[in-house]
């Protein structure tokens, strides 16, 4: 597989570290994507991408704009069901269950995968408390005691509890941008997912808020498997264990973060991370 870039041929055969080659203990994979292809009105946006995400790690997906990383991320919780012209092929396995198989209830399994979006989007008509519990309340959970407990747990995990505990019934939109984003994280955590997908979670935030989000992610990975799309390579270096580089819808390289950034095997990767693109 080759691609022509600026007159030179670049080898596009994906370079994928099999994780077990670099670790002593056999790592368990929380999520496995196999041959995922996404077509928008017949035009492929993601081409035959396969990745394995080890559990309780952070994987960063990087690549230039339009390379398909957000599209791929949205396959992992079937968000494309909402998009009219989108067609998804391939398998996405979470704990050996294929999310796209016809036999399973997508809504039930989609709850194992939480998502946080680029622009913080807490529900505007709800308070902080109600926002966090929305995933549960609107699904029929009524027990106030349990809901209150979950609110406290989730806000603590998102590192927002101390800042809002005195007034949980304040409207969510009264919070600052960084706080709103952490609220969205708490809301996603409240449904007790196992995997957390994050689409450029800090790109709309100021540096201090970004730092807090990164600290939160680093704490969360002790209990959750996190996959984060980011255009900020330094952020990928700071917080991720594994990094996948996508270009024009294809996976070019997937390795331990440190290795990918200090010694990329694929020439295209080296060019991209060093800013020699475009």
């Amino acid at each position: 597989m080759t691609a022509m870039t600026e007159g030179s041929t670049i080898d596009m055969t994906p370079v994928i570290d099999s994780v077990s080659s670099s670790t002593i203990v056999e790592k368990k994979y929380k999520m496995i994507a196999e041959n995922v292809t996404v077509l928008y009105g017949g035009i492929p946006a993601v081409k035959n991408v396969s990745m394995k995400f080890p559990e309780k790690t952070v994987t960063a997906l990087i690549g230039p704009s339009g390379c398909g990383k957000t599209t791929f991320l949205r396959c992992l919780n079937r968000m494309h069901d909402m998009t009219k012209n989108a067609k998804v092929e391939g398998k996405v396995m979470i704990d050996d269950i294929d999310l796209y198989s016809k036999d399973i209830d997508p809504i039930y399994h989609r709850r194992k995968v939480g998502m946080v979006f680029q622009k913080p989007n807490p529900f505007p008509t709800m308070s902080i408390h109600d926002n966090v519990t929305s995933g549960l309340r609107l699904n029929g959970v009524r027990d106030k005691k349990i809901l209150d407990e979950i609110v406290e747990d989730s806000l603590k995990m998102a590192y927002l509890w101390d800042e809002v505990k005195h007034d949980l019934h304040k409207p969510a939109l009264e919070l600052s941008g960084g706080q709103q984003q952490r609220l969205c994280i708490a809301r996603a955590l409240a449904i007790q997912p196992e995997v957390l997908l994050m689409d450029e979670p800090a790109s709309a935030l100021d540096p201090i808020a970004t730092q807090k989000i990164e600290e939160t992610i680093t704490e969360l990975k002790k209990d959750y498997t996190i996959i984060i799309v980011t255009h900020n390579m330094q952020q990928a270096v700071r917080i991720s264990d594994y990094t996948g580089f996508l270009y024009l819808g294809e996976l070019i390289e997937f390795r331990e973060t440190k290795k990918l950034f200090t010694d990329p095997k694929n020439e295209l990767t080296a060019k991209y991370v060093q800013g020699r693109f475009g």
């Binding site: 968000m79 809504i107 979006f117 989007n121 008509t125 609107l138 304040k170 009264e174």
Partner: protein
């Protein structure tokens, strides 16, 4: 002198002339716009003033609660008309609002297909129908069939006027809710109808209420359809199957009588109608004001927990 400096000098000379002229044009336009606003408000203001001036004298407890007296005597009141207006608005809303809202939701959330497109088109056409035509339609379909004028017919006619407006404004309000809230709801594993009703509609409440109130204000003053369906009466409401009075009808009847006292009562009825519509607007707005506004208005005093 470098080219950048040359260019700077060149363009700066241009700006000087330009700016003065543009500020002048700005002022002129602003005056014109202001004048237009005044021209638009003056008739509206003067109507209110006239109605108030002429009608205030007629208001009294007797006026508001009694049935109409003999023509020309100046006795009696518009009690049945007030009651009738409230009843007919209420009934028409009960029919028109749910249908309108559900259509609006359908068009907005499930509306990317040929069926929805044709529904939307016919909806827009329907909105422009003259109300007298809708009145005649109700007359043919209900009054003639049942054999008598009735409240049902009136409510039906008014709901036909209502629901296209409600459907349209509902659809527009829902479309204004950013996609990200739907995505967030979906990512939480919520079913589509829950996301639509509990999250999207909730966020679009304000716009939807405005649409509903607009339609209520519209039908509150419709006269032609009422002539053909509820006909009017001098008695209080008794039965849904018989004619009933309503303020627009009463105003019309009173204004046609040659007596001064009737004219006065007519003005009074007009004033009452305006106040009722205004009152409904304010009451509904307050009741549905979302937590955020209440919070801003009343601060920490309100505990909005469910």
């Amino acid at each position: 002198m470098s080219t950048v400096q040359q260019r700077r000098q060149q363009y700066r000379a241009l700006f000087k002339q330009n700016v003065e002229r543009r500020l002048l044009i700005d002022k002129i336009v602003r005056i014109i716009v202001f004048a237009c606003v005044i021209m638009a408000i003056i008739p509206f203001g003067s109507i209110l003033v006239e109605v108030f001036k002429n009608g205030a004298a007629a208001i009294s407890i007797e006026f508001l609660t009694q049935i109409p007296g003999a023509a020309g005597t100046g006795e009696g009141g518009i009690g049945p008309a007030i009651q009738g207006t409230l009843i007919i608005i209420g009934l028409a809303s009960l029919i028109g609002v749910p249908i309108g809202v559900l259509s609006g939701i359908f068009l907005s959330e499930y509306g990317d297909n040929p069926l929805a497109r044709s529904v939307r088109f016919f909806n827009d056409v329907f909105m422009e129908f003259p109300s007298i035509v809708l009145g005649i339609f109700a007359f043919l379909v209900i009054v003639l069939v049942l054999g008598h004028f009735s409240v049902w017919a009136g409510a039906f006619a008014l709901s036909l006027i209502m629901f296209p407006i409600v459907a349209r404004t509902t659809e527009e309000s829902l479309k204004m809710v950013p996609v990200s809230y739907r995505e967030a709801g979906m990512a939480l594993g919520l079913k589509k109808w829950i996301v639509t009703l509990r999250i999207v509609v909730s966020a679009a409440k304000s716009g939807m209420i405005t649409g509903i109130l607009l339609s209520i204000s519209r039908i509150g003053g419709e006269t032609a359809p009422l002539i053909m369906t509820i006909l009017g009466s001098s008695q209080f409401f008794s039965n849904f199957d018989v004619p009933m009075d309503a303020l627009p009808l009463r105003i019309w009847r009173l204004s046609l009588l040659p007596y001064d006292s009737a004219q006065l009562q007519g003005w009074g009825a007009a004033l009452v109608l305006i106040i009722i519509i205004l009152g409904i607007n304010l009451a509904v707005r307050y009741f549905f004001m979302n937590k955020r506004r209440k919070y801003k208005l009343f601060g920490y005093a309100i505990n909005g927990s469910r």
